[in-house]
């Protein structure tokens, strides 16, 4: 239901920009910084416990992590760029805001920043969610077909996993990660 309403609601660019300028005092910017460090750490941690379908990676040895949306991570992403995981070395690609011509083909992991909330359905339409691990930082990302959703609760960042989707894909995720994510 929420999804339908959002699909028809599109803010003009200038208005979004204006709101961001007025509503973003410096202190908030710093708070966002820490939240994104935690989120970057989540991405790194998730990838330690996810096994990709064998035909997806084809032994390339690298895992392309695409960040779609405004880059709010700052140096936190540099920390995980080049890090090793059981699946290969992480390569972080900052794609910027989504446009219909965006090339998402090379992504093994697709992270949707909150700025892409409005266009989530058109983005998900371009993604094969059984081959790309999708992570979104807004609710209800799971209802839009995402696999992992990060959300804020009591000043902490928690996550949920879309179990229904997981069962349809060939991703293997440690049972306990799923369990932690279900609560």
């Amino acid at each position: 239901m929420g999804a339908c309403a959002q699909r028809h609601l599109s803010w003009p660019r200038w208005l979004a920009l204006g709101v961001a300028l007025v509503a973003a005092p410096a202190a908030r910017a710093q708070a966002a910084d820490v939240a994104y460090q935690i989120k970057a750490s989540y991405i790194y941690n998730f990838l330690q416990f996810v096994h990709f379908p064998t035909d997806v990676l084809q032994g390339a040895g690298t895992l392309n992590v695409c960040i779609l949306g405004e880059d709010r991570f700052g140096p936190a992403l540099d920390e995980i760029d080049g890090a090793t995981t059981p699946q290969g070395q992480l390569k972080v690609m900052r794609l910027g805001r989504f446009s219909s011509s965006a090339a998402l083909d090379g992504c093994n992991v697709l992270y949707l920043v909150d700025s892409e909330r409005q266009g989530v359905d058109s983005i998900m339409a371009k993604v094969n969610e059984t081959r790309v691990l999708t992570i979104g930082e807004f609710a209800p990302f799971i209802r839009h077909g995402g696999l992992i959703e990060l959300f804020e609760q009591n000043d902490m960042i928690r996550f949920r996993i879309n179990e229904e989707l997981l069962n349809k894909t060939a991703f293997k995720i440690d049972a306990q990660l799923v369990q932690l994510g279900v609560k």
């Binding site: 820490v34 460090q37 935690i38 140096p75 920390e79 995980i80 902490m156």
Partner: protein
């Protein structure tokens, strides 16, 4: 993963250590899922680079700082930690202490490698020359000044040093280092790390070092020519190899299996007893398991076996040690409780040459140590105020039951933290002190443990992210300190030590860090009426430097070049007839290729040679060494 025995005030430390020089509030790759789920966004956001929250005098040497120094042994890396007294007695023997009481058996400092104690129960101290690690693979060295008995038990009276090696997942791939120097004659080390399966990684390493003889010899007046001769020839060779295997899965937790084998010798190559040299060899195997069934609970288990053999003139000490520890952390509401139990069992066999006019009774001994501890960290006022209450209970074979309680508290402001602590700690008699005998009469069987009552007050502050200040002050009262009263050993000395330790860092530019460490201490000891150890208290007092100063500059000239310079001042030690001195160290690092490192290191600069301790020592000579590291 944090080492097993790290207590509460260090769990907060471990989260921070790796981020010391970055702008990040958390360690992105080193924070576990369970930890992430409990991180409070706003309290972390209060400052972009959080102050160390530990309510104790802690100092961390990061992997980066250690590598910059270009040292080949742990002991030399500790010279630039505020308040740590590092003395090179001979070319290959160090004496290291914190807050006084230094010497060959600096017995009030507990030292661990990945939670495994390397404190010798025989000498009560650390035989630094036989303990080694590949410094490249050390994640950090945590130095805690002040008592740690509540968490770590006996002998952590004046401090704890924990050398923490990297998880094998962070040491993938290989490297080889070759080095040659005037004093650090040669260093050859190699490590290779690989992934066994999706969850398991491993590494193996080998390290070989050779150190030259020291400079001039300063023997005691009564030293025989053979002793002087042996001192002249005090070069050393050390060979060590080991492995580490880590397996991490959310279902089964984090499992670490690691082990080392070493063999080394000091002085002239010799065979059998009677010649003044030293040989040591040993090995250890350790299993760690850490598991978090929920975000609020963590279980940690540690099991290790340690086997050491030490041969010195007239004595062979063989010992085996089994150690088991379990601890659990539980968070609920505003409490974080850590509790644990431990059991340690050691057996030794000490062979004293018939030529030595003393004996050890009994020659073989089995020892048991049972312990339990509990600590509760209670947070108030939106996590700003912390109160940590804890105590350790131990039952040992030398002094029976010991309680080591502590109370710590801290209050954090936006850019500052103040903390205070009161602790009690004990040092139990060593095997040698307790069982040494002449003509069948033991000297120390009536010895009591040494006791300390310590008050500490600390303050940390940061300004504009560029300035960091850390000040710790302490007042430690000691009683029942060990004395030698012919013909027996007793506990006839007492007194107090007061001091202050500061560290001020200034990030002058993004590529240039300056740091000034300064410590000052006053020691006042006295002996009980009737004691014959009057001279001892003067010697101990005169063996602690009143002032120590260190100036450090870490400069990244450009991505390929680093210049690190160090200057240190150590006050005079009248009790050891050592005048005050200044010395400098320098390390120039060049990366001609991405995987190649060339490091030129000058150490102990400023004098042609220098005695750092009393008698029976050799002088420390300046060293110039070149190291070449190739990663693959």
């Amino acid at each position: 993963m944090r080492p097993l025995l790290i207590g509460m005030f260090c769990t907060s430390l471990s989260c921070l250590a790796a981020t010391e020089h970055s702008q990040l509030a958390i360690d992105i790759k080193g924070t576990s899922l369970a930890e992430l789920m409990n991180l409070n966004i706003t309290s972390l956001s209060r400052k972009s680079e959080p102050l160390d929250k530990a309510p104790a005098a802690v100092y961390v040497l990061t992997n980066d700082e250690i590598k910059r120094m270009g040292v080949t042994h742990i002991a030399e890396a500790l010279r630039y930690v505020p308040g740590v007294e590092v003395v090179r007695q001979e070319a290959n023997k160090w004496a290291i202490s914190i807050r006084g009481f230094n010497g060959r058996s600096a017995n009030k400092l507990l030292v661990m490698i990945d939670g495994r104690s390397i404190y010798s129960p025989f000498f009560s101290g650390v035989l630094w020359e036989e303990k080694d690690v590949v410094l490249e693979d050390v994640e950090r060295i945590e130095v805690i000044r002040g008592p740690g008995g509540t968490t770590w038990g006996a002998n952590a009276v004046n401090g704890v040093i924990n050398i923490i090696t990297k998880d094998s997942k962070d040491t993938q791939g290989g490297f080889v280092t070759l080095g040659a120097g005037l004093e650090e004659r040669s260093l050859t080390q190699a490590r290779y790390g690989w992934r066994i399966d999706g969850q398991t990684t491993a590494r193996v390493y080998g390290k070989f070092t050779e150190r030259d003889d020291g400079g001039s010899v300063r023997g005691s007046a009564s030293a025989s020519p053979s002793v002087i001769g042996a001192l002249e020839d005090d070069g050393a060779r050390m060979r060590q190899t080991g492995f580490r295997l880590d397996r991490q899965s959310l279902e089964q937790g984090h499992l670490t299996l690691q082990g080392d084998l070493y063999q080394g010798d000091l002085g002239p190559h010799y065979h059998g007893l009677g010649s003044a040299g030293q040989e040591h060899d040993g090995g250890n195997l350790k299993l760690d398991w850490s598991y978090s069934p929920t975000a609020e609970r963590t279980h940690e288990l540690q099991l290790y076996y340690d086997d050491t053999t030490l041969e010195i003139e007239g004595l062979i000490d063989k010992r085996h040690l089994w150690s088991f520890d379990y601890q659990m952390l539980q968070r609920w509401a505003n409490h974080e409780v850590v509790g644990g139990i431990g059991y340690r069992r050691g057996s030794d066999n000490i062979d004293i040459s018939p030529l030595v006019p003393a004996e050890l009774l009994p020659e073989q001994r089995n020892e048991e140590l049972k312990s339990a501890f509990i600590q509760d960290d209670i947070a108030f006022l939106e996590d700003r105020l912390h109160l940590i209450l804890g105590t350790k209970y131990e039952r040992n074979d030398y002094s029976n039951e010991e309680w080591q309680p502590s109370v710590r508290t801290s209050y954090s402001f936006d850019e500052a933290l103040v903390w205070a602590a009161w602790s009690r700690a004990v040092r139990t008699p060593s095997r040698l002190e307790h069982d040494l005998a002449f003509a069948g009469r033991p000297l120390g069987d009536q010895l009591k443990p040494e006791r300390a009552n310590v008050y500490e007050l600390g303050w940390r502050q940061q300004w504009r992210e560029q300035w960091h200040l850390d000040i710790a002050s302490y007042w430690a009262e000691y009683e029942d300190l060990f004395t030698s009263e012919r013909p027996t050993f007793a506990n006839q000395m007492q007194g107090d030590v007061k001091g202050i330790e500061t560290s001020l860092s200034y990030q002058a530019r993004s590529n240039w860090l300056l740091r000034l460490n300064y410590s000052h201490a006053e020691m006042d000891l006295s002996v009980s009426p009737g004691s014959q150890a009057g001279a001892t208290s003067d010697t101990v007092e005169g063996s602690m430097p009143h002032d120590m100063l260190q100036l450090i500059s870490l400069w990244d000239i450009n991505p390929r070049w680093q210049l690190n310079t160090y200057l240190r001042y150590v006050d005079a030690l009248p009790g050891q007839d050592v005048p005050s001195y200044w010395a400098g160290d320098i390390s120039l690092l060049w990366r001609p290729l991405q995987k190649t490192r060339v490091q030129l290191v000058g150490r102990h600069l400023g004098h042609s040679e220098r005695f750092q301790w009393g008698t029976g020592v050799t002088a420390v000579e300046p060293d110039l060494a070149l190291y070449l590291t190739q990663e693959f």
